[in-house]
Structures are given as structure tokens and as C-alpha cells.
Symmetry: C3
Subunit: 351 residues, 3 copies
Amino acid sequence: MSTSTVHTLGELANLLEVRLNGDPSVLITGLATLKSAVPGQLSFLSNPRYASQLAHCRASAVIVDAEYAGACPGAQLISSTPYVTYARASQLFGAERKPAAGIHPSASIAADATIASDVSIAANAVIESGVRIGSGSVIGAGCYVGADSTLGEHCMLYPNVTIYQGVTIGNSVVLHSSVVIGADGFGFAFDGRRSVKIAQLGGVQIGDDVEIGAGSTVDRGALDDTIIGQGVKIDNQVQIAHNCVIGEHTIICGCSAIAGSTSIGRYCTIGGGVGVIGHLQIADKVMISAMSLVSQSISESGIYSSGTGLLESKEWKRNIVRFRQLDDMAKRLRELERLAQGRPSAPGDSV
Amino acid sequence: MSTSTVHTLGELANLLEVRLNGDPSVLITGLATLKSAVPGQLSFLSNPRYASQLAHCRASAVIVDAEYAGACPGAQLISSTPYVTYARASQLFGAERKPAAGIHPSASIAADATIASDVSIAANAVIESGVRIGSGSVIGAGCYVGADSTLGEHCMLYPNVTIYQGVTIGNSVVLHSSVVIGADGFGFAFDGRRSVKIAQLGGVQIGDDVEIGAGSTVDRGALDDTIIGQGVKIDNQVQIAHNCVIGEHTIICGCSAIAGSTSIGRYCTIGGGVGVIGHLQIADKVMISAMSLVSQSISESGIYSSGTGLLESKEWKRNIVRFRQLDDMAKRLRELERLAQGRPSAPGDSV
Amino acid sequence: MSTSTVHTLGELANLLEVRLNGDPSVLITGLATLKSAVPGQLSFLSNPRYASQLAHCRASAVIVDAEYAGACPGAQLISSTPYVTYARASQLFGAERKPAAGIHPSASIAADATIASDVSIAANAVIESGVRIGSGSVIGAGCYVGADSTLGEHCMLYPNVTIYQGVTIGNSVVLHSSVVIGADGFGFAFDGRRSVKIAQLGGVQIGDDVEIGAGSTVDRGALDDTIIGQGVKIDNQVQIAHNCVIGEHTIICGCSAIAGSTSIGRYCTIGGGVGVIGHLQIADKVMISAMSLVSQSISESGIYSSGTGLLESKEWKRNIVRFRQLDDMAKRLRELERLAQGRPSAPGDSV
């Protein structure tokens, strides 16, 4: 990937605050993987699995830990955290083409909305009454911001995002396309005949530096607010139900769903496709592996999993039949152990 | 949560058709949970787990079952179904700020669409040829209603909903943002070389009082229609494939998916993240727990589950290895039982 | 389902390249299932399970394999691949009502976009700078096409699709509503305190004849592109993460998610609700059954599954307790086998 941005290696070492082994005047025009990099590009090694690719890497320079410096045919930017240094470098080369400030003539802006002078609002965006949008924010084409919602500074809403009324969003929040914030939580009371709607009277609060991926949804609270803490990163097609509280700096991977009123701690990592049922408390620094179902609160940090693992279907079918017999097998095993120990089973014996 | 709505307790008792223990002249300005309520607010107790919070609740009144009346420091609205009474109260305080009737000048309305005089159509909505929209309905900003589709009375389409052509929607239907109704069902015939598209010639019928959450999708039928029965409530990011029939008053929680041509009965509850494969018949009043896979028809009402439950990953890994040996273990167990019974195994012996 | 299209049986036999048993002058006005067809309609039998419905089918003609010809009361179109013939017939009766070429006055088109003269662009669509759109393509209402993205010929974008900048789309690609192509991949480097954004500098390439269902998302690559091969068909609410490569003619059913940098082979079938973790290699012609988690690379074509199957919850709870004891049970079983063989266990003995 090449961009029009160009930096010398010397500049990059300064900007990234790392040490350079090599010629500081070499020009770098972009970033690439070890495998696909060409001269003029910068690459990186963060996963030791790929260390063998260093020898043949054609990049002009590579971001590496000091222990791999000797293995690089070209220059090196020496970092004890090469993945973080790569992340910072990517921002230098991938500077968002931020649209110019100003309001497109086709946008519909309520007369009493308060919009900082350097905000950019694209075609067909709709900003309702009482909305406040802070300095440097960008509202993409076709976005909708409902009445009395607030966006902080330097927020980025990609096209076709929908924000309902009464949502509070901090600074530097990124919302990708088709995200919906503040739709009604799923609340109904069954009266024996039909489901009576529970009006969802709470709102949503989203902290600073949150990013939410395409197609994700965060529902408004029933009475209190749904809360997404500062620095939380949410991938695509994630569902956060009403009155959830997501702790600061937690990461939620794609297609996961958190049911209503569950609180997740800080610095957690929720894998892809995970389900967390409602009204649970999850501690800080918990990791849940992909497609697990969390059906009980978790009070200890650690790694948790569920599922059977993948098998060839024939083998899976043979074993799955036995899964249904597991309790029976456990009892029969206990009985054999009793026999082996020379004592008879008794009715009501615990297994 | 406070709104500008104010009711006296006496009024509330009348409107909610429940008995009041307390001063009917007390003013109530909103609803809150037992924990966060302040004077001037109404709270409720439906889950006995929270009964201990009654003693310290600062709400001016609480909706409770008669058995908890004595535990309340303030007034009580006595209901045998406090959750339903709370739902009704929430509607009194959360009356939707319904937009005024009228068509925004930026909306595109086909000349031959038939739109009741009191309908509200917001900015940039697009209404195609032959569409009919009934009295009191609201079409949000950026919504699209395809040719010859019909919406009944008092429907609410939040912003950025898409309805394809030929969809029939009843009265009082609520569709949240990013919902897509009537996209093509997933139908292809593989000719040995490539997948040949099966044109999806059916439509979608949605009954009265249906609510569908943000980002959910309901596909049009291949030949016959896909049908969502009256009173069905569907949460966010649910997928209903072509030719499904969802029985009246069934509830489908977030991120579930129902594959093609499956019929689900009436008054079912499908938990979150559930998958139901295609061409199945599910009886009335079936409950499926979260993240279960339904791979066979269910003819009896009841509760059904799948999955392994969540374990610490280390413990999970130990056990999951054994899952792959289950069939082998079952056979070895049977062999030991034979030995214990003093008879030799025979080739072909059933296990 | 009836349309205004009418064909004689003779014409249909010619167009579908199959043999007709019956009167070629009979008029056919539409397609229907065996069960619901009426005279004047054409039906089909592809699944032998429904063969018993032939006897009472009222369709004027049925597409069948030769072996069922005798069972049809009416005319037959004889095909060795009746499902493929039905697919082709559906296209004859379901010809898309393609909108007329032209650009709606409310669309916003960048001055330097290159748009073929017969393209149709609907209300409120936004086409950014540098975009190229090929002949015969249709851009639905409210769609957004980001800077420098390219669409080939005869593409169909249903309303409210979002394409980010720098996306390359081939010919005859169909994108359903709420699809998002090219949003940022989910890439962050944790610096011990917070998640540092990795700018997503790659793009997305989508091959010819791809169809992507409503609400699905395909992320742009981190450095290299995300690639969707020719003829791939993706159902609704599927998530394809950054740098995935999906092989030609593979089918991905609804609500599945493929994590980053995974390559899936050609002619695979990924069932609904499947999760595939990142950095895996899946061979050609692999089938994954619904809601399986693929957590290791698959090098052999075949059918693969995971999960426990569905049980009544009571029975499931009894067995699930034992799942947690499986490793313990396996060890106890081994011990009994040792006893039965008359040899004592030794510390460190392998089980």
C-alpha cells in the first residue's frame, strides 16, 4: 500500500520515538507486509512465526525487536513493542482524508442545533433539534442524529449511521456505517395474551476514544442509560443490549452479543461470536474465546471457553450420540468402580 | 429518567387500573429503578431478588404485588402483575415525541403513491410507485419504501429503514433503523460450475403490532411469502430467511437466525444467538435457550438447549479432548461391563 | 406468484433447453410450489421427498426428472437437473424491474466521477470523487460510493448500501441493502494502557458475479486487500474481516463470520452462523455445518461440524454436568481397564 505521504527513515525514527539502524535519508512511501514489501516501503515483525521471512524481505526498513535486528537485510527501526510502533506508523501513512469543514446544501439541520464552526456535514445528513456537535467532528452522508443528542470533538461518523434521540457521545469517537445507537431496548411484559411494550426511557452514553464497527447496534436503556466506557473498541455487527455497562478499554470482536443489564469489566477481550446472557457481572481482564456462551457471572480474571471443537462430521456424529448418554455413562462407570472395589451399590448412592 | 409528563398517583392508579395505597395527590414526574429512584418518581418490583431494595427505595411510590406492600416505605400501586403495570406506566411517561404530520420537501414521493393525509414523512425518504401508507404512520429520514409495498395505520419506521417492493405491513408495526424487509432470499442452484440465481418471486407479510429491532433482516419468499405473525417481537440483528412463518406473539431475541422455510409456532421464545436450520416445524410455546442450534423439528412445547457451558479454558481443553474420544469411551465402558458380568464380548455386539 | 410475463410451454422448453411432454401452446403466467400451484402456473420437483405431491398438483406443467414424468397429471418439462432448470425459469418470470437509466436530481455526484451513460442513480445517492461506474449498473436510493471506488458493468446496489473509498467491484455484482464494504478492519495494538488504532491502508476487491446479502459487512485490509472471489454468494448479516480471501464460487450462509486473514478455498459451503477464527487456511470444497466454530486450518475437503446437538433442557443439564467431568471419567475408565487386565496403575502412566 502506497500513499502520497513520504517520510525519511530519520523522520520516522523521530516521530515513532525508536532507534534507527541505517541511513536516515532513505525515503519511505508506505507500509507493507514482510512478504509483499518492495524497496521504498517499511515493514514490521511482531509475530515471531514470521521471522524467517526477514531474510528475503525487500522493504527498505523493518520495525523489529532488537533480537531480530541482525536478521534484517535492510535498515531497522528498533522497538521493544513492534506492533505498537507499526500501529503508530500506520497512522502516519494512513492519515484519513478528512473532508473539508462545512455543511452540504442537501443536509437538513434543525435551526436550534449547536454545531461548531469547523464541523463537516455531508450530503443528506439530518441533524435534529437540540443536537450539539463539537469542533472537528465529521458527519457522513445520510447520517441521522436524533433530537438532543450530543457529539464531542473530533468524532467521525461514516455514512449512513443512525443515532436516536438523547444519546451522549464523547470526543474522538468513530462510528462506522450502518451503526445504530439508541434504538429501543428489547423490553416487553407478557400480559398472558400479548407483549406489552416497555417504553425505553433511558439513553446511551459513549465515552471518549470509542470505535464501533459497521452494522453494530447499541440499545438505549429502559430507565438508566446504557454505558460504553472510554477507549472501548467494538468490531462489526456486535449487539449491546439495554442497560449494559462496558468497562473502559474492553475489546469486543465481531458478531458478539451482550444481553441486557450485563456489566463487563475493564480491559476485557470478548472474542468473536460470543454471547453473554443478561444480568451478569464480568470481572476486569477476562478473556472469552470465540463463540463461547457466557451464562454465569465471572468474578476472576482469566480465559474462558465453551463449545466442542470441530470434527469431521462422521466422527462428530459418533461422539454427539454419546454426549446424550454422558450422564448414563458416568453412572455406569461409578457402578463398575464399586464392583471393582468389591462393594455393592446402594439405592440413593451418590454418583 | 424524568420527562415533562406529570401525573398524580391518583391519576396513575386510574390509568393503570390498580389500587393505590397512599396519598392520591402526590405528583409523579417519571420512572426509575428501585436503586436510583428519587422522590417524585415511581418505581416497581417484579423480580423478588430485588425485594431487599424496597426498604431503602426513595421513590414516592412503587408498583408491587400485594405481598410486598408492607415492605415499602412510600406509597404503593398494588398489582398482581407488576411488570405489566410497569410496562403500561412506562408508556404514560415515555410517550414517543411523534413528529408532526407532513412531508419533508426533500422526500421523494412517487406521484401514484397513496398516502393518508396525516402521515409524517421525514427528510430524504423515498416512496416508490404504487405504495400505500395508512393514517398516522411515520416514515423516518432516509427510509426507502419499494414499489407496491403497503403499510397500515400507525406504523413507525425509524430512520434508514429499507423496504423492498411488494411487502405488506399491517397496523402499528415498528421497524427500527437499518432494518431491511424483503431483500432476496438466499437461493441458488449449483449447475456444477457456478451458482444460478433463483429469482425470489414471493413477498413478505408482516402482521399487526409487530416490532423489529435495529439491523434485523426479513427476506422475501422464493415463491410464496415470508410471514411474520401478529404481535411478533423481534430484537436487533435477527435474520429471518425466505419462506419462514413466525407464529403470532412469538419473541425472537437478538442475533438469532431462522433459516429458510422453517415454521415457528405461536407464543414461542427464541433466545439470543439461536440458530434454527431450514425446513423445520417448531411447535407452539417452545423456548430455546441462548445460542442453541435447533437442527430438528420440535413437536412438543418445552425448553430446549444445546452447548457445553462455559469453563476456564484450561479445564475446557482437558475435557474437549475427551469429547473426541466419547464414542471410544462408551465402547470401552460397555466392554468392562461385559467383563464384570462374566461374559465375553462378541464381534458385532451392539453397544 | 404471478407476474405480467407470459410464456407458452413451447417457448419455455426452448428457453430452458429441456424437453416438453405436453401441449406447447399452453400459456404459463408464473411459478408456484407443487402445493400452491394453480392452472396456468409452472411448478418443479427437485427434492424426492415431495414426489407424493405430484399426483394432486394443479400446475399446468412441472419441471421434473424423467423418472417422475409418469407421476405428473399435467405436462412436464423434463430436466436431469430440475432445480437448475427451475432457477433459470425463475429468472424468466422474475425479471427485475430495472429502473430507467438516468441520475435523480437529488443525487450528489462528484464532478470527476466517471459514470457510463446508461447507469441509473436513484434519489439521494452520493458518488464521491474519482469513482467509476460501468455500463448498465444501478445505484439505489441513499447509497454511498466512496472516493476512487470502482464498480463494473451491470452491478445492482439496492438502497442504502455503503461503499468506502478505494473499493474495487467487478461486473454483475449484487449488493443488498445495508451492506457495508470497505469499513476499517478491526486492528488495534495495545500499548499497556490503551488500544492504538492501526490505520487500515488496504482495500477490498470483489470479483464478478458476487452477491452479498442485506446487512453483511466486508472490511478493508490492513495493508493488502480483502478479496472476494468471482461467483461467491454471501447471505445476510455475514461478516468478512480484514485480509480474508474467499475462493471462487464459495457460498457463505447467513450470520457467519470469518475472522481476519483467513483464506477459504473454492467451492466451499459455509453453513449459517458459523465462526472461523483468524489466520486459518481452509481447503477447496469444504462444507461446514451450521453454527460450527472452525478453530484450526482444514487441509482436506470434507464435511465438518461442532456443537452438542439440541436436547430438552432438563436432559441437557444432566449431561452438561458430565461434560465437565469428562477428563476425570476418561482417567477412571482407563484405571478400571488396568484393573480388569490385572495390572496395577503406575504414576505417570499415559491415559
